[in-house]
């Protein structure tokens, strides 16, 4: 017997319909046999993996948990932010195939992507505007959790993780802005770096670290590139994992004005 039973809260439409009496002629058609053996094969593969990983419990725990009554469209902003991040990751991978972070080649390789590579400008545009979209979504998501009081007990930690994600996302945008290495990005980065340098204590060191030395030099670009495509996205991906684990563990809030109906049984008992 397959162990992987479908849990109960499956909507009726999605449940397999038992054959009605009179349907079919008792014998199975070839089509049915194929479908059935396909399903059995699928189930036994899943079972095989599950026997060795016990992942089905976790999958059920995340997918079939309940979201509270009243959950509305505002609750999609978090996953929309995550989707924008995934889109950035995918377009970023394709850009990285052509981009060259050396100061002599950075601009030319970007120009090459924009003008010559097949769909190059389109993918660059998606990456560039995807950053804006992600920024807007993350602020909307933060606004939602703020005005719904979703940062309160027991979700304080998720708010903290969220703010760190916000800062990391801003760092992404800051480091990415330099990479095309045109006039605008170059000078804006110099200014941003100078601003860093005015900070107390760590400021000058941070600025030196970012520039890879006291001057804006040959390794600066490579440093920004590796921060932009390895360090920070890795951290973001890991923290999104933590964020989502907490979401699944604690459950999402109900909108603050939704009140629980008293369970039927209590209501009748009171009467």
């Amino acid at each position: 017997m397959p162990k992987l039973k479908l849990p109960n809260p499956i909507p009726d439409q999605l449940r397999p319909r038992p054959q009605r009496p009179g349907e079919g002629n008792g014998r199975k058609s070839t089509k049915d046999v194929v479908i059935e053996s396909g399903r059995d094969a699928g189930i036994s593969v899943v079972d095989w993996v599950d026997e060795r990983t016990s992942l089905s419990g976790a999958a059920r725990w995340t997918m079939f948990r309940k979201v509270p009554k009243g959950t509305n469209w505002f609750y999609t902003l978090g996953s929309a932010t995550m989707f924008a991040f995934l889109s950035q990751a995918v377009t970023g991978v394709f850009l990285a195939m052509y981009y060259d972070p050396s100061p002599t080649r950075a601009y030319e390789s970007t120009r090459h992507i924009t003008n010559e590579v097949f769909l190059g400008e389109f993918v660059r545009g998606m990456h560039k505007w995807g950053a804006t979209v992600m920024m807007v979504l993350i602020f909307l998501h933060m606004g939602r959790t703020f005005f719904f009081g979703a940062y309160k007990y027991p979700r304080e930690l998720n708010w903290v993780v969220g703010v760190v994600l916000l800062v990391l996302t801003m760092i992404m945008s800051l480091t990415g802005y330099l990479l095309p290495f045109d006039q605008r990005s170059f000078w804006a980065t110099i200014v941003a770096d100078n601003i860093n340098g005015t900070g107390p204590f760590l400021g000058p060191y941070l600025a030196d670290f970012l520039r890879a030395g006291p001057e804006f030099g040959a390794t600066t670009l490579a440093r920004f590139y590796s921060i932009h495509m390895l360090l920070v996205p890795g951290a973001i991906a890991a923290l999104i994992g933590v964020h989502l684990y907490l979401v699944a563990k604690l459950g999402t809030t109900a909108p603050p004005w939704v009140k629980a109906e008293e369970p039927e049984q209590l209501r009748t008992e009171k009467v």
Binding site: S79, V123, T132, V163, S173, F181, R184
Partner: protein, 244 residues
């Protein structure tokens, strides 16, 4: 929230949750619709707005616009709104750091049990003020004059002709990118070069001209300007030497 309030919240929440719907497929369906809209938005923006690439970065040029992405305008604008030099550090690092600490610590100082926005007047008002302030600063940043403006007034003791030369020199200085590295009055970046607001009091006219022709690195030389357009060069020197 005290212990009783916490327990009450958890109890109420578990009822709400029990009365809810399963994440799959209900929430997943909404999330997918939203993800699709996000993808459409990104693709549409890419197709309509494209990805422009400006001229190649050139550390020696003198005309450029150092503008960040629009969602950093509010940070950038703080620098312009908070003008006094003693407060620059507060604007660049102090205020943003403070805001960040306030933001990240929010759940630890706002601990009341109430969640409805209309019953949390302080939090809701603070949130709205923050949004309005950021929107206003972003708007200022978007409509700000180019960073090649110098807002210095000619000293009042100059005659009409000297004022004209002062203004011409101001324009030349503004267009030559001095503000990239020098502060003049309220404009320009404080560094890497020294502030020029009172350079006329520090250096005689000839010394200024000499520095412009033969600067210390990394400042670019204006010898070409002197050779090709001596009138403009002189106006700039005149302007600078009037700053005191």
């Amino acid at each position: 929230m005290n212990q009783r309030e916490k327990e009450q919240y958890l109890r109420e929440y578990s009822v709400l949750k029990a009365q809810g719907k399963p994440f799959f497929p209900y929430a997943v369906a909404k999330d997918s619709v939203m993800a699709f809209l996000v993808l459409v938005a990104i693709i549409a923006m890419s197709l309509v707005l494209g990805a422009e690439l400006g001229p190649k970065a050139d550390p020696t040029t003198t005309t450029y616009t150092p503008r960040p992405e629009w969602y950093f305008f509010f940070l950038f604008e703080l620098l312009r709104v908070i003008k006094p030099a003693e407060l620059t550090q507060a604007a660049t690092i102090g205020i943003p750091t403070l805001c960040l600490i306030l933001l990240i610590m929010l759940p630890f100082y706002d601990r009341g049990p109430e969640r409805r926005p209309e019953r949390r007047p302080i939090a809701t008002t603070a949130g709205i003020i923050t949004i309005v302030a950021m929107a206003y600063l972003t708007y200022l940043g978007a409509s700000a004059g180019s960073p090649t403006d110098i807002e210095m007034k000619a000293p009042s003791d100059l005659d009409r002709q000297a004022v004209a030369q002062f203004d011409q020199g101001k324009l030349v200085a503004a267009q030559s990118g001095c503000l990239a590295c020098h502060k003049i009055g309220h404009n320009g970046n404080d560094g890497p070069g020294p502030e020029l607001s009172e350079v006329g009091a520090r250096l005689p006219r000839e010394a200024i001209a000499r520095t412009l022709e033969n600067p210390t690195a990394p400042m670019p030389s204006y010898a070409a300007l002197r050779r090709d357009e001596p009138e403009q060069f002189d106006a700039m020197v005149e302007f600078l030497s009037q700053l005191r």
